[in-house]
Amino acid sequence: MTFLKLVVRNLLRHKVRTLLTVASVLVGIFLMVLLRSLDSSLVAGAAAAESDRLIVQSAVSLYVDLPLSYQAKIASLPQVESTCKWQWFGAYYQNERNQFGQFAVDPEALFDIYPEVEIVDGSKEGFLGNRRGCVVGEQLITRFDWKVGDTIPLIGSLFPHPDGPDVAWEFQIEAVYRPTTTNFDRQTLFFHWDYFEKTLDPRGTTPPGMGTLVLQVAEGVEPTEVMAAVDAMFENGPQRVQTTPEDEFQAQFISMFGNVPLFLASIGGAVLVAILLASVNTMLMAAREQTYDIGVMKALGFSDGRMFTLLAAQSMVLALAGGGLGIAAAVVTQPGLADLIAPYLPTQYVVGTGTLVLAAGIAVALGLGAGAVPALRAGRLRCVEALGSTE
């Protein structure tokens, strides 16, 4: 009987116990990968952002809009290639709980500035040609069971329809997008600025303001130079602005989550402690039951080191099996979870290679840690004691 076979036989002696231990390591490693991925998806989203796209917003408050006239002034700067205004629309679909991002934008500029917005159904031309058209993220399509051609009624909470607060704004789905990067929201509805402005104010007396203005810096221009130029333009009001690169803007947004990353990390820590305890426990039980066998083998002349390895190897096999399955589970469930979590996360849920490597490392450490105590005990065990054992 080869040594490895002995390890496997010992594990199979209590199939249920082995199975349960592998399963609990699986669960622990899976959960750890999940939590760390949530955390790193938040951070990675910001890292994937572009730094030559700048966001101009009120320096004072997110509740303060910028005058529409700012767009022409900023666009006239030679360092600016194109601009796109965004206005948060703040409406809901059917029920107040069905909230998602909706923005009135400059339709052509949106596609110029954001090449990562890829149309997967319907057509860009259809959207551009229909003033009441909208382009929606593919996740909204699945969430609400919409399709291209549908008319979507939205009740304006921030911008009530001028005909009355209960009157819905209507948008026709002309295109569906899927972002090619992870940091672009996958469930937003974009519609024509023109439709927004003309519906609110048909006579054009008091045009609405814009929430933010996104600008694309011209090729070869240093973004910081543009930032300073834009900020200086409106230093004395009427509304002061703050211009930030997109990556910083997203990082700021993520920092608004406060202690959430720390919180996730603490939970991850508790999970690790729990699975470590469970594995050590199982190994101790297994070792105690093998006391007699070890006594026999030692009596037959097997070395202390050999016995140490026998126990340590069992622990390692359990940890590696559980860890491997946990990692596999995390990878397999990634697309499904990404869809599930999308409404709550500003960036896409991605399981990174770094996290997987870390998880594999933890599984190995777990195997070593859980095996150490029983293996040491097995190594030191004296024949007479072991053979006298009643267990």
Binding site: H14, V16, R17, L20, T21, A23, S24, V27, G28, F30, L31, A59, V60, S61, L62, Y63, V64, G90, Y92, R97, Q99, I155, G156, S157, L158, P160, P165, D166, N236, G237, P238, Q239, R240, Q242, A251, Q252, I254, S255, M256, F257, G258, N259, V260, F263, S266, I267, A270, V271, V273, A274, L277, A278, V280, N281, T282, L284, M285, E289, Y344, E391
Partner: protein, 388 residues
Amino acid sequence: MLVPLSYNVRSLFVRRASNLLTVLGIAATVAVVSGVLALQQGFANLYAENGRDDVGVLLRPGATYEGYSAFTREEALKLMKSIPELAEDENGAPLAAMELYTAVRRFKRDEGETNVPVRGVQPATFRVRESEFSIVAGRNFEPGSDEVIVGKSLLVRVPGLEVGDVVPINVTPFRVVGTFACEGPHESEIWGDLDRMIAALDRRGPSRIVGVLRAGTDPEALATRLADAKETPAKFQTERAYLSAQTAMLSAILGLLGTVLGLIMGLAAVFTATNTMISALASRIHEVGILLSTGFRPFPIFLSFLFEALLLGLLGGVVGTLVVLPINGIETGTTNFQTFTEVAFAFRVTPAVIGTAIAFSVVLGLFGGAWPAWRAARLTPTQALRRH
């Protein structure tokens, strides 16, 4: 006849090293679940408990929260005068105030920026808030001046808001002259004079009206009447209903997180408990044989093992709860993504949290013990006594 409970307690003690590890494993699970619940409770209670039933909130029809709501000054005045349900002060004026709600960007003490809520208030606001509002440092702002007061919860998280500091709102500098306490979400806000705020932010009027309701007011009837009003319709809610609605989303997320983590970690804990009980059974199989041959029926033996598992779970639950208790009262904060503004709150280990944690731990124990207990009960005396 039942197997004496002391048998289980002693048995647990005999295998104490292994049982301790199991208990700690369950404790970690329970601690995580109750930690998340404590966070959720702290957040939800901050809003719901401090919302008053005798205070009404009026928003523009269709607005889901005050940041989305706006009235012109004339509309607001007309509304305040047209609601007989509002209580009156000694001069016969309605005990109600217009408020402007907005937020300013500030840096946090730990890195990053956040949106700090700013409220423009009227002198009547302090009459409405008489029972919960107090100045704890400095003084209140002078009506009509460019002065503000800051909620004390905010000071912990956002620097530069001490008495004497200057907060620019758009191009107007406002001086901080006091710190106030006001249980609830208001304590994370900056308050200043309504008219100065409207001017500084170039707004047309207030965001909402708050007022004290006369005793016996039917909120639903009032809400229907105001929604259908021809001239100046408005959306009416009691303050408690309004604030509860603001936390629905984050509360739901935390509740979901707690449930998911509880289920996944609970699964692992059940596996461990099962392992422990299987091993307990294996080492005591002789004793089971003796019990059976001395006339104990299988069912009491099943109950006995189940009880032992329950005890394991319960111990884990108690340890887990004890571990979590110290976080009670720890201040933290996040952004409420329904309003996009900063809110400070404390972990709250409420009786409901402890109750849930203990019940959860018992369930974990029972689930873990069920199968080994069933196996123990199915043994025959000869089988049990023969096996070594």
